[in-house]
């Protein structure tokens, strides 16, 4: 395993850890396991999608055609940050796929959702696991994911990136 990650291009993730040729690169299997273990998102949700790494630890989800490796600006969306102790899903991923999640989803009241969307941290009760959660709220007769929050010490920290924050 002598190859290093090349930050200039997209490489498709290997299916399994055994097929890994680049140091530290996660496999598709591990990504699916993470989404299932943490959020109970069924792996079949991603049957049509491929996962790619560009930039160390930055994982992208895509469903179009493309050879690997490929040097382009973007493909699909960034979905997950790996190569760190606690993997961190993105806000855009949570909004796009979070409806499939059945665990580690914290439901917010309207005012709490407003604070979350504005990027604010808030004290909240939660008896589930600490760490990254999908925050959602009820809108138009359904629970709709807002983004990713970090829950620690009785506090939910909004991870909504600056450019996506809104005063609602």
């Amino acid at each position: 395993m002598s190859e290093q990650n090349d930050g200039q291009r997209f490489d498709r993730l290997p299916e399994t850890p055994d097929e890994r040729t680049v140091e530290g690169r996660v496999s598709r299997e591990e990504v699916l396991e993470y989404f299932e273990d943490r959020f109970a998102i069924p792996p079949a949700t991603f049957d049509e999608h491929t996962f790619w790494e560009k930039g160390a630890g930055k994982i992208w989800i895509y469903c179009g055609d493309a050879p690997t490796p490929i040097e382009i600006e973007a493909m699909g969306m960034t979905c997950l940050r790996t190569r760190q102790e606690h993997w961190k899903p993105t806000t855009d991923f949570a909004q796009r796929f979070g409806r499939h999640a059945e665990a580690c989803v914290i439901e917010l009241e309207r005012e709490e959702a407003r604070a979350f969307a504005a990027g604010e941290d808030q004290e909240l009760e939660w008896d589930g696991d600490w760490g990254y959660l999908i925050a959602g709220h009820r809108i138009a007769d359904g629970l709709e994911p807002l983004g990713i929050g970090l829950y620690v010490h009785g506090e939910l920290r909004s991870m909504v990136p600056k450019g996506r924050q809104r005063e609602l």
Binding site: H49, I61, G64, D65, Q95, R164, L168
Partner: protein, 302 residues
């Protein structure tokens, strides 16, 4: 409004046209069906007491009665995307199918590219290209916000675009929403005509011809190319299509659109164009109370 005088001979009810060009345009959004159905998106707006009017020709286009269409829950969730009503026309005319390979040659900031993704149910491939690196970040931001996972972004000059980076050698459909003099955006942007000059028309027309030629070449036989601009100038519209009809293997085809519009021109300033250019659409601001647009649909014949 001075530069628009040259269109007096070709625009029906020219005074109504000028009056419409002077009226500011309201806010419109497109419903992003990747994230919400039309029912759900409109229900979300109703919950927030945001009044809207659904466009007759397209239930996914809403005119909103709010000054800040970006500050709704529907927008935060990516159920809606701010997009001018006529700007939603070219992807509908291109009419891509789920699973196809589609090229958006001039895609930033991505309103139409993400609309193409949505029309394809986020299946297949949309290659969204733009030559301006500075505009690529807005394109990426919009694609991610709207959840388009079938969209790939490239940064290249469309005039000599290479397909080598992908595995395939032709697209099924291509949209050329060309850089233009933007006369038709005057209602949104009152300065739109400030730098207007015939020289500018001529130079931008050259770029448009180069991009449209490459688009026809990069599209498979039997495939579709849609050419659109937000300008009235025939030099940037019919003349560009005419040039490509002569230089490449393609023909102009008819399409159906439930909007009021005028047919494309068959002559301008002493120059004659192919009679099939009548199948193109000139959407003037007074027709449907929108911005201005030109759309032509081509079929690749070899």
């Amino acid at each position: 409004m001075e530069p628009l005088e040259r269109y007096r001979p070709i625009v029906d009810d020219f005074e109504a046209f000028l009056a419409a060009c002077r009226r500011p345009l309201g806010n419109a959004v497109r419903i992003n069906t990747i994230k919400a159905s039309v029912e759900r998106a409109t229900a979300a707006l109703e919950e927030e007491s945001v009044a809207y009017d659904q466009a007759d020709w397209n239930p996914r286009v809403l005119r909103l009665e709010t000054d800040s269409p970006g500050s709704t829950w529907a927008s935060f969730h990516g159920f809606t995307h701010g997009q001018e009503e006529v700007s939603a026309v070219p992807p509908v005319v291109l009419d891509p199918e789920p699973g196809e390979r589609v090229w958006d040659a001039c895609a930033a900031p991505g309103g139409k590219a993400t609309q193409l993704s949505a029309l394809m149910n986020d299946e297949g491939t949309v290659v969204a290209n733009d030559s301006n690196l500075g505009r690529i970040s807005a394109l990426r931001f919009n694609a991610e916000r709207l959840g388009a996972t079938n969209l790939a972004v490239t940064n290249a000059d469309a005039r000599n675009y290479s397909l080598q980076r992908f595995e395939f050698d032709a697209f099924d459909r291509t949209l050329v929403d060309a850089p233009c003099s933007c006369e038709g955006t005057i209602r949104k942007n009152p300065d739109a005509l400030e730098d207007w000059s015939e020289d500018h028309l001529a130079s931008v027309s050259g770029i448009q011809k180069g991009i449209l030629r490459r688009a026809v070449q990069a599209t498979r036989e039997g495939g579709t190319v849609v050419y659109s601009t937000c300008t009235f100038a025939p030099e940037e519209n019919e003349e560009v299509v005419q040039h490509v009809l002569e230089a490449e293997d393609c023909r102009v085809v008819d399409f159906h659109l439930d909007l009021e519009y005028a047919p494309g021109l068959t002559e301008w300033d002493g120059e004659e164009f192919d009679e099939t250019l009548e199948h193109a659409a000139r959407i003037y601001p007074h027709h449907n109370d929108t911005g201005g647009f030109f759309v032509a649909k081509l079929e690749v014949t070899a």
